[in-house]
C-alpha cells in the first residue's frame, strides 16, 4: 500500500482482512447470513509511528484491532508482524509472539482484574514470559509504575482504590511489562475526563518516543486523533474509506463520510462559523451493507448517482503525497468514484447508470 522511504519495512502489514460473525438462528444454531464486521481492510503500521483507526460505533475498528492480535479470529486476509504470518501461527509460537504486540483497552474499569493488586497485574506478563522473578520482578514492576506516572507503593493497591486515569496507567504498564514493539490502543482515553485524558495522551506519546513503539490507535474522537496520529484511516461499515497523513486528512478530507465526521466535531469556539454536514439516518446494519459504495445511501456528494450503488469504489490515490515527518511519502487514499482522479473511468460509470461526472467536492476545508 505504501511505497515509502525505501528499505523501511512495515512492522505490521494487514491485507484484505475480513472478520465475519455468523448470525445464528433457531435451536440448531444454523448460520443465517453473517455480520461483516470487518470486510476487506488493508493497512501498514511502520516502526515508531502511530496509525489511527477512526470511525463510529459498529464500524469495525475494535474488531480490526483485536483481529490483528488474534484475539478475534479473522475470516480471511493476511496479517504480517515483522514478516511473520500471524494467522498461520500455532498456539505456542503465537503465545510467544504476544510479547511483541500488546493492547490497551478503553474501559479502565473492566480491563483490570478486580481481584488482583496493581503489582500482580503488571507482573503477570513478566511471569507468563519468564522475564523476571522474585526481587528482580518486584524491581521491574516498580520501575514500570514510575514510568507510567504511578508511585511504586501503589503496587499493593486494588483497582477499585484508583481513579480512572490511574487505572488506565496500570493498563499501560501491564502492556509495557513484556517490552512490546507494537501496541493496539483501543480508545484508551475516551472514558476519561478531559484533564486526565490529556495526561494519558501525553504519557502515550512520551512512551512512544522513549521506546520507539508503534501504535494502532483506535478512536472515535477526531480531535484526540489529530494529536497522536501520524496517519489516519477512516472506517465505515467494516471498510477503510479514506487514509492519509494526519495533516492531509484534516486539511483536505475527500471522502464525503470523513467530511461529515469532521464537520460534526463540536468546536470549543462560540464564534466558529462552520458548515456542518448533518447526516440523515443511522449507519446501516453490517449484516446487510448497502451495495456499491457502502456510504451511498447517506452521501451528500453532489455527483452521487446510480453508479455509486453499483460500483464498489477502490481505495485509490487522490491528491499529492503530502505527509511530513514520520508520515512523509504516505499517500492519500480515498474510496470514492466521484472524487477525481479515479481509475473508474467515465465509460464504466455511465454503464453503471451514472448521470453525473466526478467532480471535486470539498465542503469542509482546512478543518485544522
Amino acid at each position: 500500500m505504501s511505497e515509502r522511504a525505501a528499505g523501511v519495512r512495515p512492522l505490521v502489514s494487514v491485507r484484505d482482512l475480513a472478520v465475519h460473525f455468523p448470525v445464528k438462528k433457531g435451536v440448531l444454531g444454523r448460520a443465517k447470513g453473517a455480520v461483516r464486521a470487518v470486510d476487506g481492510v488493508s493497512f501498514d503500521v511502520f516502526p515508531g509511528e502511530t496509525l489511527a483507526l477512526v470511525g463510529e460505533s459498529g464500524c469495525g475498528k475494535t474488531t480490526t484491532g483485536r483481529a490483528v492480535l488474534r484475539l478475534v479470529e479473522a475470516t480471511a486476509g493476511t496479517i504480517l508482524f515483522d514478516g511473520t504470518d500471524v494467522r498461520a501461527l500455532k498456539a505456542e509460537p503465537l503465545r510467544k509472539l504476544r510479547r511483541q504486540m500488546q493492547i490497551v483497552f478503553q474501559d479502565p474499569f473492566s480491563s483490570l482484574n478486580p481481584r488482583m493488586t496493581v503489582g500482580a497485574t503488571v507482573r503477570e506478563g513478566l511471569v507468563i514470559h519468564e522475564l523476571a522473578e522474585g526481587a528482580e520482578a518486584d524491581a521491574r514492576v516498580r520501575r514500570l509504575l514510575e514510568e507510567v506516572g504511578l508511585r511504586p507503593d501503589q503496587a499493593s493497591r486494588y483497582p477499585h482504590e484508583l481513579s480512572g486515569g490511574q487505572r488506565q496507567r496500570v493498563g499501560i504498564a501491564r502492556a509495557l511489562a513484556v517490552e512490546p514493539r507494537f501496541i493496539v490502543c483501543d480508545e484508551p482515553v475516551s472514558a476519561l475526563d478531559v484533564s486526565v485524558q490529556a495526561q494519558v495522551v501525553n504519557l502515550l506519546q512520551d512512551l512512544q518516543r522513549d521506546r520507539g513503539l508503534a501504535y494502532l490507535f483506535i478512536a472515535h474522537d477526531l480531535s484526540v486523533v489529530q494529536h497522536v496520529a501520524d496517519r489516519v484511516a477512516v472506517m465505515y461499515l467494516g471498510r477503510i474509506v479514506e487514509t492519509a497523513p494526519g495533516e492531509a486528512l484534516y486539511d483536505e478530507p475527500l471522502m464525503p463520510y470523513t467530511q461529515a465526521l469532521l464537520s460534526a466535531v463540536p468546536v470549543p469556539d462560540p464564534d466558529a462559523k462552520r458548515q456542518r454536514i448533518v447526516l440523515s439516518g443511522d449507519v446501516p446494519s453490517p449484516a446487510a451493507p448497502p451495495s456499491g459504495c457502502v456510504f451511498h445511501p447517506r452521501c451528500h456528494h453532489p455527483a452521487r448517482d446510480a453508479a455509486c450503488a453499483r460500483i464498489v469504489p477502490p481505495l485509490e490515490p487522490k491528491g499529492e503525497m503530502s505527509g511530513s515527518g514520520k508520515s512523509a511519502g504516505a499517500p492519500h487514499l480515498v474510496a470514492c468514484i466521484k472524487q477525481p482522479p479515479t481509475t473508474v473511468d467515465d465509460a464504466t460509470q455511465r454503464a453503471a447508470g451514472a448521470t453525473h461526472p466526478p467532480q471535486r467536492y470539498l465542503p469542509v476545508v482546512g478543518a485544522r
Binding site: R151, D193, S195, A198, D221, H227, P268, P270
Partner: protein, 345 residues
C-alpha cells in the same frame, strides 16, 4: 443574574452520608436560568453537576439530603418546600429531564408510543386515543420518520440516536418550561450527536423552553449555550456569557480545561494537563479547592476560601487572582505536580 429568571438556584447544598463521613457533593451552588435560555453546566466527573440536576428535581435518594437553607425557585415557587404530591406534578410537567443513557430511561417491555402516551395520560389526563395521537405527534416533532409505525416498536429495536429522540419526545410531551439535559449526547457517536444537538436547538426555538445542559464537553457548550456555569469540587468556580468565557476565561481551572482539550484545528503538539485529581467530596481542601493543582496559587489561597469575584458583566470567578491579577504573569509548578508526578489523579 437574569431579571425574573425561570429557575433560580440559591445556595444549594446536597450532602450524602458515606462510610468516610458526609460528602458535600454540592456545596453552596447558586445560578439562574432565564426564560428561553440555554445554560451550560460544565465540569468533570465528581464536580457535582449531576447531583445539582437531581436536586432540582428532588430526586436525591436515601443516603443524600438537601440542606435546609437551600432554595430552588422555579417561576418564583420554592420547589424545596412543595409537598411531594405537587412536586410530582412539577416533574415531567414543568421540568423534564433527559439522561446520558437513553436505554436505561426507557421501559424495555413497553412500546415507545405507549411510553410517550403514558406521560400525557398521567399529567394531562388525556384519553387513550388523545394520548396515542399525542405520542405520534411528538415522535414526528423529534424527527422520527414513519411515526405511526415507530410508535409500536420497542426500545431495543431502535438505534442509540433514535432512542435519545424518543426520550426527548417523552420529555417534551407536556411542553415543560425547563428541560434538564444531563450529558444527552455523551453516549452517542459524533454524527448522531450533531443530529441530537440540532434537534434540541430546533425544539427549543419552537417551544420556547429553557435548557440546562449538563456536560463535560466544552465543544458542545460552545455550540449550544448562551451562558456557562463551570463547577469544580461542588462549587461554582466561574460563570460567564459563552463568548466571554471562551475568549477570556478567568478561573485557572477553566483555563486549564480549555488548554487540556484537544481540538480539531489545534496546532500544539503537546496537550496541556491539569496535574493531580479532583479531591474527594468528603474532604474538600480548605482555602481554595483548586489550590494544589493551580499554577498561580499563593498563600492567600490556602488561608482564605475565595468568594465569587465580579470580573465583568455577568462574569464571576471564584479566584483571588481577581484582586492580584499581576500574579497570572508568573505561573509556577503546582503542588500536585511537584509531589505526585501526575499520580495523584
Amino acid at each position: 443574574m437574569t431579571p425574573d429568571p425561570l429557575l433560580d438556584v440559591q445556595n444549594l447544598r446536597t450532602t450524602f452520608s458515606t462510610d468516610a463521613g458526609p460528602a458535600r457533593a454540592v456545596d453552596g451552588v447558586s445560578f439562574t436560568v432565564g426564560r428561553g435560555e440555554t445554560v451550560g453546566l460544565v465540569g468533570e466527573s465528581g464536580c457535582g453537576k449531576s447531583v445539582t440536576a437531581l436536586s432540582i428535581l428532588r430526586l436525591i435518594d436515601g443516603a443524600g439530603r438537601i440542606e435546609k437553607d437551600s432554595h430552588i425557585l422555579l417561576e418564583g415557587r420554592d420547589l424545596l418546600s412543595l409537598p411531594e404530591r405537587e412536586m410530582r406534578d412539577v416533574r415531567g410537567n414543568r421540568v423534564a429531564m433527559i439522561w446520558q443513557e437513553p436505554l436505561s430511561a426507557l421501559n424495555p417491555v413497553m412500546s415507545v408510543g405507549d411510553q410517550i402516551a403514558e406521560v400525557a395520560r398521567v399529567h394531562a389526563h388525556a384519553s387513550r386515543a388523545e394520548a396515542h395521537a399525542k405520542a405520534v405527534e411528538m415522535l414526528r416533532l423529534v424527527g422520527i420518520a414513519d411515526p405511526e409505525q415507530r410508535a409500536n416498536e420497542y426500545p431495543h429495536q431502535l438505534s442509540g440516536g433514535m432512542r435519545q429522540r424518543v426520550v426527548i419526545a417523552m420529555a417534551l410531551v407536556m411542553s415543560p418550561a425547563l428541560l434538564i439535559a444531563d450529558e444527552p449526547t455523551t453516549a452517542l457517536d459524533v454524527t448522531i450527536q450533531a443530529q441530537i444537538l440540532e434537534l434540541l436547538a430546533e425544539v427549543q426555538k419552537r417551544m420556547g423552553m429553557s435548557i440546562l445542559l449538563i456536560t463535560h464537553d466544552l465543544g458542545v457548550v460552545a455550540e449550544t449555550a448562551s451562558r456557562v456555569v463551570v463547577m469544580y469540587a461542588g462549587e461554582v468556580v466561574e460563570e460567564a456569557p459563552v463568548r466571554e468565557l471562551f475568549a477570556d476565561a478567568h478561573h485557572p481551572y477553566t483555563e486549564g480545561l480549555m488548554r487540556a482539550m484537544p481540538r480539531v484545528g489545534g496546532t500544539e503538539t503537546r496537550l496541556a494537563t491539569i496535574p493531580g485529581a479532583v479531591p474527594a467530596p468528603t474532604d474538600w481542601p480548605h482555602g481554595c479547592r483548586f489550590r494544589e493543582r493551580c499554577p498561580y496559587a499563593w498563600e492567600l489561597c490556602e488561608r482564605e476560601h475565595p468568594p465569587l469575584y465580579q470580573i465583568g458583566a455577568g462574569h464571576v470567578s471564584r479566584c483571588h487572582l481577581a484582586i492580584e491579577p499581576e500574579r497570572r504573569a508568573h505561573p509556577h509548578v503546582p503542588i500536585a505536580a511537584a509531589t505526585g508526578a501526575g499520580a495523584g489523579e
